[in-house]
């Protein structure tokens, strides 16, 4: 295996040294402009494509790519893979989806954690069976973002996405809109089935214990169907401007320092001024032909000679170029993440396959709309249906495929933050569930439904169900986010006119704990 990895590494490291110069957007843009101008001087010179293309300060990224030989540089960075990951967000759904056994959320949120989150919740809302559910939820963009952030692959710009060894911003943006989650029922983890080894009438009886491994409560996937970002609106621009310092201070500072050092060093080389003057004339002459191949050949010559001017300290400048490429990648990623995190109207489709203990398997389909109303206020709307996966198997209970339909609304109001509790969010939510088919429980003496005791059932009964009734509930919730902890603690009080199984009004209190691994990964980067 080691030999295979070593051979692969050598093969990658031996790949062609220089990418086509037109693959770098700065070079391509200015080659186009140079051919269009025919090499004639443009005034001011700072807008002259011949001058610009020979100015490392105007296209430091592409110069760094050329100097560093980006492919080789980024493959060598594999050694750094195990380090660190990314920043955090406050508006994401970490727990199981609303409607799942054990959830403390009346309304599902749209966004998910960027890398990974874990939520533990106790206290069912609409269901009579309490669940202890732990949900692991991740965003598909998490891993490729981490690869960029840790200099394993560069972020590719525009047409540079053709490079096999970079991660495109548009692809990351697409993946950022897809998340998947798995919920585990921790109460089932503790269940064990004991089966008598052989019949005996004694007081002490030997048994064989069999663990119940079917502890996946639900799996879910979420795709953002619509994400409306009005980048020209005043509200968007104000929010963007306000969040730039927090979101980008570090990456912008790094870029200023690292790209600045690269620029200083390449332009202070002894032969730099001579190189610039010589190749400016040659480039203009090539552009006069308006022949693209001649212009590209002239630029290739210029860049080759540019490398030659670095001969005195080539290795050091090459290392600076590699560092600059990494700084650019982190900057672009932070910029995209900032833009994606700004309040936008998002419509999300959620699919969940719910496998609660002692109940038939159901499928949830839900539309979620996140609508920012003001900087601190957000409205979330849900509409969804729950379907029995196999209604025929429980037809004796009088069920149809449609189990229930739900609509819900939630108003989130940020209350600011204090030193102890961190950011506080107050939430009011309302929920209506139209119960089309009765809720069904499977009766299995060897695998009982947690928290439910059956009395007086026929020994042959395998399915029980109750009368249907619509559910109306309201919830008030306060979510604490202790500073720098990555933990969110929602505490809520819910009133429901009934639950799926119990035809009585109830007050319930719920508490949950969410751990956002984005914050943990961010801590590694400090």
């Amino acid at each position: 295996m080691r030999r295979l990895v070593a051979a692969l590494f050598l093969l990658l490291a031996a790949a062609p040294a220089h990418a086509q110069i037109e693959e770098c957007t700065f070079f391509k843009r200015n080659i186009d402009a140079l051919i269009a101008s025919g090499g004639a001087p443009v005034n001011p010179p700072s807008n002259d494509p011949a001058v610009i293309i020979l100015s490392p300060g105007r296209g430091a990224r592409c110069y760094a790519v050329y100097v560093a030989n980006a492919d080789r540089a980024n493959r060598l960075a594999f050694a750094d893979f195990v380090k660190k990951f990314e920043g955090s967000r406050t508006d994401e759904q970490s727990g199981t989806t609303s409607g799942t056994s054990g959830t403390t959320s009346v309304v599902s949120q749209g966004p998910a954690a960027r890398v990974l989150s874990i939520a533990a919740e106790y206290g069912a809302i609409t269901e009579a069976v309490n669940g202890q559910v732990v949900t692991v939820r991740g965003n598909l963009a998490g891993v490729p973002s981490a690869l960029v952030k840790h200099d394993i692959f560069p972020y590719c710009v525009g047409a540079e996405t053709r490079n096999d060894f970079c991660v495109g911003g548009s692809m990351l943006s697409l993946l950022r809109h897809v998340s998947i989650g798995v919920s585990f029922d921790m109460s089932r983890e503790t269940q064990t089935t004991a089966i008598a080894s052989f019949p005996t009438s004694g007081v002490a009886q030997p048994v064989t214990f069999t663990p119940n491994r079917n502890d996946i409560e639900a799996i879910s996937a979420r795709v953002e169907l619509w994400n409306r970002r009005q980048i020209t609106s005043k509200a968007f621009l104000e929010q963007w401007k306000a969040r730039i310092p927090a979101a980008m201070d570090r990456t912008a500072t790094d870029l200023l320092l690292i790209a600045g050092k690269f620029y200083d060093d390449v332009t202070s080389q002894p032969g730099y001024d001579q190189w610039h003057a010589t190749h400016l004339a040659r480039l203009r002459a090539a552009a006069m032909t308006r022949d693209r191949q001649q212009v590209i050949a002239a630029l290739n010559d210029a860049l080759r000679d540019f490398l030659a001017t670095l001969a005195t300290d080539r290795d050091a400048v090459q290392a600076e170029a590699e560092a600059a490429i990494a700084a650019y990648s982190r900057f672009f990623l932070a910029q995209d993440e900032l833009l994606d995190s700004l309040s936008t109207t998002v419509v999300t489709l959620e699919y969940a396959n719910d496998r609660p203990a002692g109940q038939p398997v159901t499928t949830d389909l839900r539309l979620i709309a996140d609508i920012p109303i003001a900087e601190r206020t957000k409205l979330v709307l849900n509409g969804g249906v729950t379907l029995y996966d196999n209604p025929k198997a429980i037809a004796s209970a009088g069920v149809a495929r449609l189990r229930d339909a739900q609509i819900a609304a939630e108003l989130d109001q940020s209350l600011g933050q204090s030193a102890i509790t961190g950011p506080l969010v107050f939430t009011l939510a309302g929920y209506f569930q139209y119960q089309h088919s009765p809720a069904v429980l499977n009766v299995d003496a060897t695998n009982p439904v947690p928290g439910v005791a059956f009395v007086g059932l026929s020994p042959n009964a395998s399915t029980v169900f109750t009368t249907t009734g619509n559910i109306v509930l309201g919830q008030a919730r306060l979510t604490f986010t202790p500073p720098s902890s990555g933990v969110k603690i929602p505490v809520s009080v819910t009133f429901a006119n009934r639950s799926e199984l119990i035809d009585k009004a109830t007050w319930r209190a719920q508490v949950g704990v969410t751990y956002d691994f984005d914050s943990l990964f961010a801590a590694f980067t400090k």
Binding site: S46, V51, S55, A60, M248
Partner: protein, 114 residues
């Protein structure tokens, strides 16, 4: 009547650099073309020009004597597709200095104070 304040920077031939009167104040502003652009970081003659915790569309400073590099890091609402420009502003006069492109957020050029 307000006297016209002509721009002070003059382009240096065949370079992206500019020269101007040393110790004179100048104001540089960003102008949006595709999306919006702001300056997140700026360094000139060893000084940071963007106050911590802000991103700005205007920089004001005095031209330092001799050749000094102005380094900028810009942020764009249109990400790597964003386009804007940096201008010298001396109302009612104004002049183009350099273009700003989202794929090259770091820009550096020299200002020579004479």
């Amino acid at each position: 009547m307000i006297a016209a304040m002509p721009c002070k920077l003059k382009p240096i031939p065949d370079t992206s650099d500019f020269e101007g009167p040393a110790n004179e104040p100048i104001a540089l502003v960003t102008k949006d073309h595709i999306g919006s652009v702001l300056i997140a970081k700026a360094e000139y003659a060893g000084a940071q020009l963007v106050p911590t915790g802000t991103a700005v569309s205007e920089l004001s400073f005095n031209i330092a004597p001799g050749p000094k590099t102005l380094k900028l890091v810009c942020v764009f609402t249109a990400s790597t597709s964003g386009v804007g420009e940096l201008r010298e502003d001396a109302a009612p006069d104004s002049q183009f200095l350099i273009s700003l492109n989202g794929d090259e957020p770091f820009q550096a050029f020299r200002l020579v104070g004479k």
